[in-house]
């Protein structure tokens, strides 16, 4: 009898479990891979969007958050294996994969989702998602412009004052600007016996900071690399000449000993670290993450009251975010923007829901908290969000500068027009040319000739 009772009980439990799992498997699932945010606010905002979407649709969103490098590596592997998630948003997709995936037909055309949103998006940001599909031979919208970044100068105001200068002393002209940090500021601190460098100047081949910074220098000399059809125009005499000047200018900061020698081996975090350690007075950096670190510290309950107070002082008084100086020809500097793209994969299992999710995510009330959760590290791509007080009220000393740069206008990277430039950047032909001048002591003209030859090998003519 006891045996019969146990058997009946077991059968009942098995039936419940089977029924439950059957119900679970019946629920529609959407898989999404995102880069884990730098700040808790980003992840909280994303989880809130996911929660709202789940409640509104009854679709379960299986969200995975990955570290920056893991996110893209895992995505590339999954796409190659034909098992991608439905939605992917990694903050290095734009630099590394979006254009190539679109060209290879690995992405879903999302024009039907983006078209209704077009009027709400910043035109330049939107233009970076209008990509060529090599299989159809046509351009279309293959990605969502979620957020973007720009290049800024960051400096220690207190170190500048220690060197005997005021902010008003900083020149606005291109050469005068770099001479100021290298000769005057560094020179003055060295005269006081301090082993400090004027500028943290990324030179490492493996750092995306290096090609971002270098291409900003190339813009300062109006060195055009490709046209809007993706054709290489760098070999045209005026562009080549401008590129030679850009290489000379970039190399010169290292050659005159104005950046830490280790900057030739720097990876992306290293200029931040040198700045935080006060080894350098100024640096150029994509995003305002350097200042953001101090803002994060000033709100970090695990730090002591003194540490929080110092971080607050650093954020509000000691650290300055600034624009680049005027171009070499005296005109206004061009802000190179990297637009971070989310995608729906062509091999995704649930493309219909993926489009619904992205349409939901891109709504201002959902996207804005996500972007603002990054504490200014990422800039909005929607016209409405950038006008929100978070950016436009001028109360935050760092975001106010970012807002001004945004309003001055932005331009995209070359890889938007020719996806092979993701490889050019990954190989960092720019840093290689600079290093040839600096390390192998060859003339800049020869380094640029090599650069052009290599670009043509990688990206076609």
């Amino acid at each position: 009898m006891k045996l019969v009772r146990h058997f009946a009980m077991g059968t009942a439990v098995a039936a419940v479990v089977a029924g439950w799992s059957g119900a679970a498997s019946a629920q529609e699932v959407l898989t999404a891979w995102f880069t884990k945010g730098f700040y808790k606010g980003e992840d909280d905002a994303l989880l809130a969007v996911v929660d709202k979407f789940q409640k509104a649709t009854g679709v379960k969103v299986e969200l995975s958050l990955y570290a920056t490098e893991d996110c893209v590596t895992k995505s590339v592997g999954a796409v190659d294996a034909g098992t991608p998630p439905d939605v992917g948003f990694c903050t290095t997709y734009d630099f590394r994969t979006t254009g190539k995936w679109a060209y290879d037909g690995k992405l879903e055309d999302v024009s039907d989702v983006l078209e209704p949103l077009k009027s709400e998006l910043q035109p330049m940001a939107l233009s970076t998602t209008f990509l060529m599909n090599g299989k159809t031979g046509k351009k279309s919208y293959y990605a969502f412009p979620v957020e973007q970044q720009m290049m800024h100068i960051t400096y220690w105001k207190d170190m500048l004052e220690e060197a005997g200068f005021k902010e008003a002393d900083i020149p606005k002209t291109w050469n005068g600007y770099w001479d100021f940090w290298c000769d005057k500021v560094q020179g003055s601190l060295r005269a006081k016996g301090k082993r400090i460098y004027g500028i943290g100047h990324p030179m490492g081949i493996a750092a995306s900071d290096t090609f971002y910074s270098f291409l900003t220098f190339a813009n300062a000399y109006n060195a055009k690399v490709v046209d809007e059809n993706g054709k290489i125009v760098l070999d045209q005499p005026e562009n080549k000449k401008a590129m030679v000047e850009a290489v000379k200018s970039y190399a010169n900061i290292f050659q005159r000993g104005c950046t830490p020698p280790s900057s030739v081996n720097w990876l992306d975090p290293d200029n931040n670290v040198a700045f935080h350690n006060r080894t350098t007075v100024a640096t150029h950096n994509a995003t305002i993450s350097i200042a953001g670190k101090h803002m994060d510290d000033m709100n970090n309950a695990s730090l002591t009251a003194e540490q929080r107070a110092q971080a607050k002082k650093n954020y509000e008084d000691n650290i300055r975010t600034a624009e680049f100086p005027l171009k070499a020809d005296g005109s206004k500097m061009t802000n190179l923007a990297a637009v971070k793209t989310a995608v729906i994969f062509a091999d995704a299992k649930n493309k219909k829901r993926a489009k619904e999710f992205m349409a939901f995510f891109m709504k201002d009330e959902n996207l804005r908290p996500f972007v603002e959760g990054s504490a200014g590290r990422w800039v909005p791509t929607t016209l409405k969000a950038i006008e929100a007080p978070f950016w436009s009220d001028g109360k935050d000393p760092h975001r106010a500068v970012v807002y001004k740069q945004y309003k001055d206008g932005t331009v995209p990277f070359q890889f938007v027009y020719n996806y092979n430039f993701t490889t050019v950047n990954a190989e960092n032909v720019w840093a290689k040319a600079v290093n040839r001048v600096v390390q192998d002591k060859i003339p800049a003209e020869q380094a640029v000739d090599e650069m052009i030859a290599r670009i043509k090998q990688i990206a076609g003519s």
Binding site: M203, A206, P261, V264, Q439
Partner: protein, 296 residues
């Protein structure tokens, strides 16, 4: 027992022409199967898959077109020649020192072995930190003791960085090869030295006519093995300089990773396979030498 009885089959009806019973053959196959399976999965498949991936001729064209490749090949040859020869010369000398049976030398030997015994990553990264031009211990001390504002660019000057990579490689692997040569020296009969000493041979003559002839085979075999390992040494270069500055100090072992980091698996595989013509003859000669040794 008669001869006929001794040669009688255990199971006559199952005997085949070669004299093996079917049962024994089946059991042999069953016993061998796990090994064959593991060998196929762990050795044959990965190697074959790697070679298959490396069959894309466009990859080799792209590889030879990359300006960094020729430089890498030259770097690899220099690294191989200098590191292996210097390492074995020093190991030979040190083995002569450590073979002495004194208590304090044994303690020093234990300390000497440590670099080889501890994991590569923390030790090589500690060198990287120490040699950092700004904050590293070495240049900080030069600044504090001698007021040298800009110390040597240990890892930022291409030549110095390459020398440092070779130094770290030697530092890391020297203890192992010194131990091998110590065992070789310990195998030499002491009678020979005593007899030579009685005959008036000096230290150099003892080395030349007793030690070296006894060690030569071990020395050459070890050198070849070390060449194969040095060719595949990724840690010393990658952890110390990342192949930098400016991609100027790559060796073949690190170049592949550089390509793979750039999502270019084909070129990564090709850059590793191009070392095969160098490795395979060495492996062949090594195996031949070891077989001869085993036969002897």
């Amino acid at each position: 027992m008669s001869t006929a009885a001794m040669t009688a089959p255990i199971s006559a009806p199952r005997e085949d022409k070669s004299g093996f019973t079917r049962d024994r053959a089946v059991w042999g196959a069953i016993m061998l199967a796990p090994y064959v399976l593991v060998f196929a999965v762990m050795v044959v498949y990965p190697v074959a898959y790697g070679l298959w991936l490396g069959l894309n001729w466009n990859s080799y064209r792209a590889l030879f077109a990359d300006p960094i490749f020729i430089r890498t090949v030259v770097n690899t040859i220099i690294f191989l020649f200098v590191a292996v020869n210097l390492k074995f010369l020093i190991a030979l000398l040190l083995s002569g020192f450590f073979v002495q049976q004194r208590a304090w030398i044994r303690i020093v030997l234990v300390l000497f072995i440590l670099p080889w015994a501890v994991p590569s990553i923390p030790t090589i990264l500690s060198f990287r930190v120490m040699l950092n031009p700004e904050n590293g211990m070495v240049n900080q001390q030069l600044f504090q003791w001698f007021g040298v504002m800009e110390g040597p660019g240990w890892l930022t000057d291409p030549t110095l960085a390459f020398v440092c990579s070779i130094f770290v490689h030697i530092w890391k692997s020297l203890p192992f090869w010194t131990l091998i040569l110590i065992t070789g020296r310990l195998a030499i009969a002491q009678d020979l030295y005593e007899a030579a000493s009685v005959d008036g041979a000096n230290r150099w003559q003892q080395f030349r006519f007793i030690t070296w002839p006894s060690l030569a085979t071990l020395y050459v075999t070890s050198t070849m093995l070390s060449m194969i390992w040095t060719l595949g040494d990724f840690n010393s270069v990658y952890l110390l300089t990342g192949g930098g500055p400016g991609d100027l100090n790559h060796v073949l072992a690190t170049l592949g990773i550089r390509y793979m980091r750039n999502n270019n698996l084909d070129l990564g595989i090709a850059s590793i396979i191009v070392a095969m013509p160098l490795i395979l003859p060495m492996v062949f000669v090594m195996v031949k030498r070891l077989s001869k040794g085993a036969e002897a």
